[in-house]
């Protein structure tokens, strides 16, 4: 009991910041509403893009549109949740350039935790909703053989997906300490990774398998669990049972993120204020 209240005391500052951020976003009502609708539309259009392609081609890489719905739902939901918590790591270069990051160093709290809890963008929940709807629709529309194993697989995929995408954001943030003006460089694997996650990885040439199947393992967030769940044939480089390895991929991504973040923070020498 005493322990849990001690934890509550320690978390109080974070909670206060987050609650105030959420309230501030909702105070401009019209603006917030347009933001939410816009964000939702972006998610819907991304699905439309997949639909158009599969509508024209029928099947691509041994996957149909109905099956893609599940891949898209998993990827979109996991990414949006990761984006909700870690997405504003993207604003680190702005702090670095303005020298305002030094303020974070003055507080007796871990840097990354402060950065994560410094803001929360509620409109990202709109995209998570699009993802969740597609995920449920995908699970209903496909011929899933429900069992304890299947439920565990889906749960593992969602949790590992959120962790993997969060790790990508942190990896990118760690690299920002070196890049500063080249922040777009990390978009290649963060937002490229999100795009890759919504693709059937069976069509990838070897180079991309190495990049998005191993180095930044987004293939494990949606495509591979779907293949395992629906019993689809895997490809030569990505066999069907790999969907079970999503947690391993997430662990690897967290390891890379931890290293990138630590090296980045050590490299930082202050804004010279």
């Amino acid at each position: 009991m005493a322990e849990s209240s001690a934890l509550a005391v320690r978390l109080r500052p974070y909670r206060a910041v987050l609650v105030s951020r959420m309230r501030s976003q909702r105070s401009y009502r019209a603006s917030f509403r347009i933001d939410v609708v816009g964000t939702m539309l972006v998610g819907v259009i991304e699905l439309a893009e997949i639909w158009v392609l599969f509508h024209g081609a029928g099947q691509i890489g041994g996957v149909s549109f109905t099956q893609m719905l599940l891949v898209f739902g998993l990827a979109e939901f996991s990414f949006s949740i990761a984006d909700l918590f870690f997405g504003h790591c993207d604003s680190l270069p702005t702090y670095l350039r303005a020298g305002t990051l030094d303020v974070f160093y003055l507080r007796p709290q871990p840097l990354l935790l402060q950065l994560v809890t410094s803001d929360i963008s509620l409109r990202r929940l709109a995209r998570a909703t699009v993802g969740a709807v597609c995920l449920v629709a995908g699970l209903a529309a496909n011929d899933v053989e429900w069992s304890v194993g299947a439920v565990v697989l889906v749960a593992l995929a969602i949790v590992s997906g959120i962790v993997t995408f969060s790790a990508l954001f942190v990896t990118a943030a760690g690299l920002q300490f070196f890049l500063i003006d080249g922040a777009e460089l990390t978009n290649a694997f963060v937002y490229g990774g999100r795009y890759a996650a919504t693709q059937p990885a069976s069509v990838w040439p070897r180079g991309i398998v190495v990049l998005f199947g191993m180095a930044f393992p987004v293939a494990f967030t949606a495509y591979l669990p779907t293949v395992t769940l629906l019993g689809l044939p895997g490809s030569e480089w990505l066999p069907a049972w790999l969907g079970w390895c999503a947690p391993l991929a997430a662990l690897w991504a967290v390891g890379v993120a931890g290293l990138a973040w630590r090296v980045g923070v050590r490299h930082y020498q202050g804004g010279g204020g």
Partner: protein
């Protein structure tokens, strides 16, 4: 008249030189363009192979051309809705620009064109090179080669004229961020950035063609990749020029009306 032309020419050169200082950012953008290009190449060429040439008439060479040319133009054609003018309208700093004896719209477009033309070097050429290496198609005949650059510049100008409208909408709205987001989603989709609009279901293609968005990216890509030939090229150029004129006219009207509602605080 000649003097005015010289002023906008200077602005164009200034935009070109300004963009040339952001080299690391250009490199970052290029890395993203190449990554997205490779991912799109994988899935779109798989789609072409499955349909054996039935996908909107695309084969591997024209699809590669579509991918690499559109990725190469992405840095220069404004499909994101971001423009410096947006902030200046919001803060009211734009009032200073109204004091100058030049046209706000023409000055904005000239500066943006300069920036866009420079961006073609670091972000347009490398994807083009990749495209040539993997074997993409090129403009068809002398008309295609002649019309390609014209179509490209028309596409860039059309996108700037459109984004200018978003910026001047700020005279009436407090925050245009929502509109920017809507623009980004719709322009990318109907402009043919994600998939060519010619493989859409028919009703959706008709809808896309009825908007100015394909004039920004899809038509220039069609001309440059040789998908459009002969008279078709002339038709696409005419559509681009038409949309550009309409957007310019609307922009002029909105600027004039917006001047009257602009409120500047402080002294």
């Amino acid at each position: 008249m000649r003097q005015l032309g010289r002023i906008y020419g200077r602005l164009l050169i200034a935009g070109f030189r300004r963009q040339s200082t952001y080299r690391l950012a250009a490199l970052g953008g290029l890395a993203a363009n190449l990554t997205f290009g490779l991912l799109k190449l994988a899935i779109l060429s798989a789609a072409v192979r499955t349909t054996s040439g039935d996908l909107g008439g695309y084969d591997l060479a024209t699809m590669s051309a579509y991918i690499w040319i559109s990725q190469g133009l992405l840095g220069s054609v404004n499909l994101y809705g971001r423009l410096d003018l947006v902030d200046r309208v919001k803060t009211g700093d734009v009032a200073v620009e109204f004091l100058r004896p030049i046209d706000l719209q023409a000055a904005t477009l000239a500066t943006e064109l300069g920036r866009g033309l420079f961006t073609l070097l670091p972000r347009g050429l490398p994807p083009l090179l990749v495209g040539i290496l993997v074997g993409m198609s090129g403009p068809s005949g002398w008309l295609g080669w002649l019309a390609g650059p014209i179509s490209l510049v028309l596409g860039m100008l059309t996108s700037y004229a459109m984004v200018y409208l978003i910026a001047v909408a700020g005279f009436w709205l407090v925050d245009v961020r929502g509109i920017q987001m809507l623009y980004m989603a719709v322009a990318g989709f109907l402009g043919g950035l994600y998939v060519p609009i010619w493989i859409f279901p028919e009703w959706l293609t008709t809808l896309a063609v009825a908007t100015p968005f394909p004039a920004m990216l899809m038509y220039p890509v069609d001309v440059l990749s040789g998908r459009a030939e002969g008279l078709e090229i002339v038709g696409l150029l005419a559509a681009q020029a038409g949309w550009l004129l309409v957007l310019l006219a609307v922009g002029q009207a909105l600027t004039r009306a917006g001047r009257r509602v602009l409120e500047v605080q402080g002294g």
